[in-house]
Each structure stands twice: as structure tokens, then as C-alpha cells.
């Protein structure tokens, strides 16, 4: 039997480069980091990356860890910083969805607070995916990647006018679908009311 070591002993071991101690700490905290990261990043892949990055960082700076402070709290700070980087990047990548929603839906105070926005974001993605291939390709290049129409024209070997036409068709179509689906988007509001009644 191996005597289980206290967290303080493990962190001391880690500081001295003990790989076993490092792995025990990994065993203990990997899942917490994963769950926390997934809650904010909504992606298994990125949550996994956060866990990896946090432990690689912990190993690389092990000598500077202060064993007097809570290790759990220390891990929280590293995890938060990594999640923050991913979150900011994600929100930049998702910016086009907000933009399209802004174009398609007129939000007011009520809808701001009551629409299930997560579902709405997923819906935009789904509708973009259902566009005719050419429209989908062009709207993603233009809105998601921010490539100017002129460059898209060169890239796809078509005229700028055709690019613009596809783009406005795509936006028109999205606006149409998103209004039709307004009711589905309100679900959150109803759930919310029901809960209050109880």
C-alpha cells in the first residue's frame, strides 16, 4: 500500500520536480478544471486544451509556487486566465453571429432579457449552414473571416457584384428564417415564468 500524501506534501514534491506528485495533483484537479472551462467555453475540445495548458504552466513554474497559499485557489487563477483568453477569442470569432442577429432581429428591453440567446446563436449557425453552398461560403468568408468583397471575388474567381448579390441574398434569407422562428426563440421566457409561478 502506498500511503496517500497530503496536498501540501504533493505540492512540495511538485516544487522539487517530483513527477508522481505532479500526476497526483493532475488526477485530483483535472476534472474540476475541465468542468469549469466547459461551462464557459461550451466546447470539450477547448476545455481539454485549458486543462493541458494549466498543467503545463504549473509544471513550468513549479519552483515559484507558494506552498503557504491554497493550491486550489492558485489553480483557479491560472485556469481563469486561460479561460479568459479562449473566451475573448471565441467572442471575436462569434462576433458575426451577433452582427447577423442584430441585423435580423430588432431587440427591445423585453427580448433582450427573455430570449434564450444561446439557442438563438445556435440557430443562426444552423441557418447559415442550410444556405445554398455558394451563399454559405461567401457569407462565412465575408462576415466570419472579415474578407472584403473584392478579395472574395478574386478568391472565388467571380465578379465583386456577384459576391455582393450572394451576400445580400444570404442575409435576406437569414432574416426571413429568424423572424419565422421567433416563437421557438422565446421558449426561455415561458420556462422562466413557469418557474416563478411555482
Amino acid at each position: 500500500m502506498v500511503k496517500s500524501r497530503s496536498e501540501k506534501e504533493l505540492v512540495d514534491g511538485l516544487k522539487q520536480g517530483d513527477k508522481k506528485a505532479f500526476q497526483s495533483l493532475f488526477d485530483q484537479y483535472a476534472k474540476r478544471i475541465f468542468v469549469f472551462a466547459k461551462g464557459y467555453l461550451k466546447s470539450n475540445e477547448e476545455a481539454e486544451e485549458v486543462v493541458q495548458d494549466v498543467f503545463i504552466k504549473v509544471w513550468n513554474v513549479r519552483e515559484a509556487i507558494n506552498t503557504e497559499l491554497s493550491f486550489k485557489s492558485y489553480l483557479f487563477k491560472i485556469t481563469f486566465n486561460r479561460i479568459r483568453e479562449f473566451f475573448v477569442k471565441q467572442s471575436r470569432e462569434n462576433y458575426y453571429k451577433h452582427e447577423i442577429l442584430d441585423y435580423a432581429i430588432e431587440f427591445d428591453n423585453r427580448t433582450e432579457e427573455s430570449i434564450d440567446y444561446k439557442s438563438l446563436l445556435d440557430l443562426v449557425e444552423k441557418y447559415i449552414d442550410q444556405l445554398p453552398p455558394r451563399q454559405k461560403e461567401i457569407i462565412l468568408l465575408s462576415k466570419k473571416k472579415g474578407i472584403p468583397s473584392k478579395e472574395i471575388a478574386v478568391l472565388l474567381d467571380i465578379s465583386s457584384r456577384t459576391v455582393e448579390k450572394h451576400l445580400s441574398e444570404a442575409l435576406k434569407q437569414l432574416k426571413k428564417e429568424l423572424t419565422e422562428d421567433h416563437i421557438a426563440g422565446l421558449l426561455f421566457y415561458h420556462l422562466f415564468l413557469d418557474q416563478k409561478k411555482k
Binding site: 500526476q23 475541465f34 469549469f36 464557459y40 461550451k42 493541458q52 479568459r84 440567446y117 478568391l155
Partner: protein
């Protein structure tokens, strides 16, 4: 404060309003995180219980942590490094009897630059599977060479001559670049193949999954590919275009399949000659433009020729091999020509 608490709770469980989304995004955007925000988050962090979670694979994550920290590569010093790398470079040869996987290192004593390189060379008529130090894998096609710096993990650049298929491990901090000389392919994490033989005018990039950017020799971006797109560069004309393709078919060579989709005989001959390491001559101009469809899986050259002759109006013969001055025999040579008698059958 209460609002923030509620917003965090809702966000965490995946049901949140637009207002809540933007309040959280706003907090994450702050250069210096707000004390209250951090406090609420840490409460959430502390409250996480040890329940089973879907999608969490501890062992997989641990494996990549320990491989990135090079735990398995114990010891230091040049010799150990050499063998560790050699072990990782596993070679699988698709064609029996072919021997010729070669990996070697050379270090020059230049003082400033990182000088150690590893090179994987795939001889004619074979395909070679490779593993890069960062965990990325791929297959090298006949007569191709891949070269990378030994400090690869922090410097993910490979130099390619010939054709290679890559499955790149995601690492946002270290972009993965494939450099051919005429183009550079910039990758995040994805699978794609690059064709760049020095003696062929066309260089091609086929994207299977993910996304890649193609840069020209001045490092100017010329294309961003979506899955199932192919980028083609005509080197002499300095012209390029992007087209829609069936990526799975185009990279099927990695599984030992030779897939020919509406390809001109002239191009087909180039591929066959590389695939089987033979010389192929097409006698008629007319035949060069004849288009052909077909899929061959692990067939010998003789079988492939027989099948082509059955399904297209051609006949072929093998030229007798000459004995060369040094006592060896010349490479196999096949001559293809139109079979006029059967022309009307097709």
C-alpha cells in the same frame, strides 16, 4: 451583483439571455478582472462536485501533457535525443519488398541559428507514415522529402518537397506551417494534403477538415480554404485558383488507394509512374487528353494496366529492360497507345 451571480449561473448551465451574455462578455473583456466577478467565479469553481462528466478523458489529456513536457524522453544529451526521435519515426511501407525509410540528422556549427534538422525521405514507389514530435501525423507519398527543425515543438515549420498528407494537432500558440518554396500553408489544427513536386508545374493544397491559409512566396495570403476545396498554383504562369473537390477521394492515396476521377491520361501517367516507380510513355497525343475514372486498391502495376486496358481503348507494352554499363538494369518502362480497333467500343 445579484444580477451578475444569476447571469453566471445561467451562462454556466447554458441558458442565458442576450443581456446576460453581453454582461459576461464585458467582464471577460476587462484587462484587469473585476474583484466581484472573480469572487463569484471562484465560488462557482469551489462548488464543482466530483460527478462523472461527459466528454472528459483524463488519460488522453494526461498523455498529451506528459508528451508536451517530454516526460517520456528521459535523460539529456545528444545521443538520447537521437534515439528518442528515431523511435518516434515509425515507418509503414505499403508495398512489400520496398525498403527505404531513412531519417538522419545533421548539425552544423553555426553559432546563432538553431541548426539541427530532421529529414524524412520517402523513396520512389512507396508511401511512408510519419509522426512529428508535437503529435501531428501524416503520410509521405513516393519520392517526397519532409524536413523540420529538431526544436519542432516551439517552431512548427516543415519543409516539403513532393506530396504529403497531414493531420495536425491543434496548438493555438504555435501555428503549423508547411513551406514548399512557392507557397506556405498556414494551419491551426486540421487535416489536409499538399502536393509540390519540383518537377511538376502545379502545386496543390487539398483541405479535408478545419481550415488553412495559403500564402505566396512573398508571404501574402492568397487563399483561405474551406473543407472540400482545393487550391491550385501554376508555377510558371504564376496563376492560382480555388476549386471545389472531393477531398476524401483526393487524399485516399494515404490508404494505398489510387483514385482517378476524370483525370487526363497524361496526368494519370505521371501519377502511375510515381506510384509504381516506372517510366510511362504515351504515344498518341489524342490519348493524353482522354479522361479516365477508376479506383485501384493495392493492385500491382500489371493488374492496374490490365484493368485500364479493359476499361479504356488502349493497349500497352513493356519495353525490354536494358543492361546498363554498371551491370544494373534500366528502370521498367511502359508504353501506352490507343487501340484503334477497339476505339468504336468506347
Amino acid at each position: 451583483m445579484e444580477n451578475l451571480k444569476k447571469a453566471l449561473k445561467n451562462f454556466f448551465r447554458g441558458k442565458y439571455s442576450r443581456e446576460e451574455y453581453f454582461s459576461i462578455q464585458n467582464e471577460f473583456d476587462k484587462e484587469q478582472a473585476d474583484e466581484d466577478f472573480l469572487f463569484e467565479l471562484e465560488q462557482q469553481w469551489d462548488a464543482i462536485t466530483d460527478e462523472p462528466v461527459e466528454g472528459f478523458h483524463k488519460q488522453t489529456i494526461w498523455n498529451s501533457v506528459s508528451s508536451k513536457l517530454e516526460f517520456r524522453q528521459s535523460g539529456t544529451g545528444k545521443t538520447v535525443h537521437f534515439f528518442a526521435l528515431l523511435q518516434r519515426a515509425a515507418a509503414i511501407l505499403f508495398i512489400p519488398l520496398a525498403i527505404g525509410f531513412l531519417i538522419y540528422f545533421y548539425a552544423t556549427n553555426s553559432t546563432e541559428q538553431e541548426a539541427a534538422w530532421a529529414e524524412i525521405i520517402c523513396p520512389p514507389g512507396v508511401r511512408t507514415q510519419f509522426h512529428l514530435p508535437d503529435g501531428s501525423t501524416g503520410v509521405l507519398n513516393s519520392e517526397s522529402t519532409l524536413k523540420y527543425a529538431v526544436n519542432f515543438n516551439s517552431n512548427r515549420i516543415v519543409h516539403l518537397q513532393g506530396e504529403a498528407y497531414f493531420e495536425v494537432v491543434k496548438d493555438k500558440k504555435h501555428p503549423f506551417d508547411v513551406v514548399t518554396g512557392a507557397i506556405t500553408v498556414q494551419v491551426l489544427g486540421t487535416s489536409f494534403s499538399v502536393l509540390a513536386y519540383p518537377d511538376q508545374d502545379r502545386e496543390k493544397v487539398v483541405l479535408k477538415t478545419g481550415s488553412v491559409r495559403v500564402l505566396d512566396d512573398n508571404n501574402q495570403a492568397v487563399a483561405s480554404l474551406l473543407p472540400d476545396q482545393q487550391f491550385v498554383l501554376e508555377k510558371t504562369e504564376r496563376k492560382y485558383f480555388t476549386e471545389r473537390v472531393n477531398a476524401a477521394a483526393l487524399v485516399s492515396w494515404i490508404d494505398g488507394k489510387l483514385v482517378i476521377q476524370n483525370e487526363r491520361f497524361e496526368d494519370l501517367a505521371v501519377r502511375l509512374s510515381r506510384w509504381y516507380h516506372v517510366e510511362i510513355e504515351i504515344k498518341d497525343q489524342k490519348l493524353k487528353d482522354y479522361k479516365y475514372y477508376g479506383t485501384f486498391e493495392n493492385e500491382s502495376l500489371d493488374d492496374v494496366l490490365r484493368l485500364i486496358a479493359l476499361t479504356a481503348p488502349i493497349k500497352y507494352k513493356e519495353v525490354d529492360r536494358k543492361k546498363l554499363a554498371d551491370g544494373t538494369f534500366s528502370n521498367r518502362k511502359i508504353v501506352l497507345e490507343i487501340d484503334e480497333r477497339r476505339m468504336s467500343d468506347f
